[in-house]
């Protein structure tokens, strides 16, 4: 009977009719949602008065686009996917069908050819087709490269899946070299290659790795021990200011202050840990949130020491283990010692390897600790605190070690951040940073190092990549700055991931205890799946 009810509805409304209805609903909802966001805009006129600018045209465009999207999805997209599913079930293709249909050899070849042509003519394009179209073509080139890479990854997916960690580390180690080589060939000079690599190594590489490290550090607290910490950025700030102040006032070396910054952050971690020992879940989140804000407000208001919101500048650079420096005026500047041309790229590449080493240290310590009693106790604590205590685990020290260890890595990352920027101010340590780091941990899958690294790559790399989308200016006007929309995209990505993979990219927990025959266990384990 239940079946006949739903099929009756279907016969009444054909897909197209249903699509009309759904499109109207979607239009009404988006109108309601966006009328205040897009339809009206507060602005200042010449005499500095607040006025309301009306943007009905833009509002209508957005609403119509939403309606069209919904209409085509319901009328054609959904039936198409349903038919494909039926066909796939019949042919037994189902598991990889969507991806294998998406990645095909002819399309791969087209993408490669397209990318090669566009790269070869990239310098001539603006003159040939005009700057606007050149922008689009640049975007197209990026898409072609990404698609071709995705095809290669898809083709070797079994191999990549089996050796993910090794391949990942190898790729990260080779990345700056690869960038310099490719760009040197492209620019036909090594100096040009080094100069061009700055953006890729610094804006993408270092930036992403800082977040990878922070997220891996927070993962110890949130992912392993299950203690929701909304103020993680406080430890990042402690580490950054520890290096900034001690380094610029006392001239101490980064290599002495790095462990000191870690220790100081760990100390603050324990200090935060004590009062919140009895709290869990929401209550803990509120207190840690407050802690993060307190640290930031102290940094702003304790002017004598921190120089307030003006921040600390002139933070010394990291040296090459005291042997060489990266200041071109120093007698032992790396360029003079090694007798190579002067370039700011050496420092960035060195910093890249430094943060890579720090991040890998975090990962290494995390994986080792998980196999040790303290790590196992963290995970048990996340699962069931009462059971833990009745099994003889001292939950007090367990929580404090989790806070301290997580905070220590935050402190390391902070010291690195201060050294990289050369300047710190309380503005870098706002709640939004904590939220982003936590979002990366949640998106990646709590407790999973690989998932978190992928999430950081997608989220931070993705928002950086928005800066590249200059061609959008020709659509939305000269004032359009795509990177301002990164939080919107961040939120959208989170919603999408949480709908498809509610436990994050890598949602299953890797067991840390194995029988003698490890392979057999882990493969049978993956079939369980859902936890």
């Amino acid at each position: 009977m239940a079946v006949s009810v739903s099929s009756e509805r279907d016969t009444v409304a054909s897909p197209v009719q249903r699509a009309f209805r759904e499109a109207l609903y979607a239009g009404a909802i988006s109108l309601g949602l966006f009328i205040l966001f897009i339809g009206l805009k507060t602005d200042q006129n010449i005499s500095n008065q607040l006025i309301l600018a009306q943007r009905w045209g833009l509002l209508i465009t957005v609403v119509v686009l939403t309606m069209l999207g919904r209409f085509f999805y319901i009328a054609y997209g959904q039936p198409f996917m349903a038919n494909q599913k039926i066909a796939d079930v019949a042919t037994g293709l189902l598991p990889a069908s969507v991806a294998s249909r998406f990645f095909q050899l002819p399309a791969f070849i087209v993408a490669v050819v397209l990318a090669v042509i566009l790269v070869a003519f990239s310098s001539a394009l603006p003159a040939l087709v005009g700057p606007d179209l050149a922008g689009y073509l640049q975007f197209l080139r990026a898409l072609a490269v990404i698609y071709a890479l995705a095809c290669v990854i898809f083709y070797f997916r079994a191999f990549i899946h089996a050796n993910f960690t090794k391949l990942g580390i190898a790729a990260l180690v080779l990345y700056p070299i690869l960038v310099v080589v490719v760009l040197s060939v492209y620019a036909w000079s090594i100096m040009g290659g080094l100069q061009g690599s700055l953006k890729w190594v610094d804006n993408y590489g270092i930036q992403i790795l800082i977040y990878v490290m922070l997220a891996w550090g927070l993962n110890i607290v949130v992912g392993l021990a299950g203690l929701l910490d909304l103020g993680y950025v406080a430890f990042y700030a402690v580490g950054a200011y520890a290096y900034a102040l001690l380094g610029s006032h006392y001239g101490l070396s980064f290599w002495i202050l790095l462990p000191a910054a870690g220790a100081m952050a760990a100390f603050w971690g324990v200090l935060l840990g004590f009062p919140v020992l009895r709290l869990r879940g929401d209550y803990l989140a509120i207190v840690t949130l407050a802690f993060g804000e307190i640290i930031r407000l102290v940094l702003i208001n304790w002017r004598d020491v921190t120089n307030g919101s003006a921040g600390v500048s002139g933070i010394p650079k990291v040296t090459f283990f005291g042997l060489m420096t990266f200041n071109s005026s120093d007698p032992n500047y790396i360029g003079k010692v090694l007798d190579i041309a002067q370039s700011s790229a050496y420092y960035k590449i060195f910093l890249y390897y430094l943060i890579l080493a720090l991040a890998l240290l975090t990962a290494f310590v995390t994986t080792r600790l998980r196999r040790m009693p303290v790590g196992r106790a963290w995970e048990a604590l996340r699962e069931d605190e009462i059971a833990c205590r009745s099994l003889g685990i001292n939950t007090t020290t367990t929580k404090l070690t989790a806070f301290a260890t997580g905070a220590m890595f935050g402190g390391f990352a902070g010291a690195f951040f201060a050294a990289r920027q050369g300047f710190v101010s309380p503005e870098s340590f706002v709640f939004l940073e904590s939220a982003i780091i936590l979002a990366i941990v949640v998106l990646g899958g709590m407790g999973s190092l690989v998932g978190i690294a992928v999430a950081a790559l997608v989220m931070i790399g993705g928002t950086e990549a928005l800066r590249e989308l200059d061609f959008l200016k020709s659509i939305f006007g000269k004032d359009f700055t795509p990177e301002l929309y990164r939080m919107l995209l961040f939120g959208m990505a989170m919603v999408i991931v949480m709908l498809w993979k509610p436990r994050g990219f890598v949602g299953s927990r890797e067991p840390t205890a194995f029988l003698r025959e490890r392979k057999a266990v882990s493969s049978s384990f993956t079939k369980e799946g859902h936890g």
Binding site: A387, L391, I393, P511, T512, A513
Partner: protein, 243 residues
């Protein structure tokens, strides 16, 4: 039977939840080598007594002595390290950890020396767990989870095993399996067991001695057989229920 050495001695224990008195001066003792059952209706304070032994919540007055040591004010984890093991109410296994990891947690984090030997004992008692060794705790059936909970408790090589409603929500056949296992542990290894149950018939049949608890007070005590024969006990807990 060496019934004369008292292993666990609970004297005049009063426990509160806020201002609500949950235990009203309870006297219970468990001798070496016994199975002692505590029966009573919902809300009588059985589980509270079980948790009070572990110091969470803590007794506001009275004393709890284990093997001659006063444990009333000890932190929970130190009480556990006195080798009192517990299979708590609702099993409380670690759902995302594998069966093997759960058992390792029970063995105590500092000492995995006896792990293989003890795990083998658990697997002889509950062969089902061995089949499930690499499976996550949360994917086990209720009965298997109960077995895991008891198995995990046994890994600590306890002197005293506390079981809180091991039959809760299980099919009669599984309940019988679990009760048989408890009996075997007691007979073969001389393990002392303190058992809280609503399944009064099964528990009293299994037990050397039993206590009946009503509204935070122990109202009756005696051997398992005596209590089974007692008309008041029969009327309150046995008739109309099981058998």
């Amino acid at each position: 039977m060496m019934a004369e050495t008292t292993l666990l001695d609970i004297k005049g224990v009063e426990t509160y939840y806020g201002n609500i008195k949950a235990l009203n001066g309870v006297d219970v003792h468990v001798n070496q080598g016994e199975i002692v059952a505590l029966i009573g209706a919902n809300g009588a304070g059985k589980s509270t007594l079980m948790m009070t032994i572990f110091g969470a919540p803590r007794a506001r007055s009275g004393t709890i002595t284990f093997a001659g040591t006063d444990i009333t004010q000890m932190p929970t984890h130190e009480i556990a390290r006195m080798r009192i093991a517990q299979s708590p109410e609702g099993r409380r296994i670690f759902p995302r950890m594998t069966v093997m990891e759960n058992l390792q947690m029970g063995a105590g984090l500092d000492n995995l020396k006896h792990y293989d030997e003890d795990a083998e004992k658990v697997f002889t008692l509950f062969p089902r767990l061995k089949e499930r060794i690499a499976q996550r705790g949360g994917t086990l059936s209720g009965g298997e989870q109960q077995m895991l909970s008891i198995g995990r408790a046994l890994m600590a090589r306890p002197k005293l095993l506390l079981l809180d409603e091991p039959s809760l929500g299980l099919a009669p056949l599984i309940v019988k399996q679990i009760f048989d296992a408890i009996r075997e542990l007691n007979r073969m290894q001389g393990l002392t067991v303190f058992l809280v149950e609503q399944n009064a018939f099964g528990a009293l049949k299994l037990a050397t001695r039993g206590y009946v608890m009503v509204n935070g007070n122990v109202t009756m005590s005696g051997t398992g057989k005596e209590l089974l024969a007692n008309p008041e006990v029969r009327a309150a807990y046995l008739e109309g229920g099981h058998h």
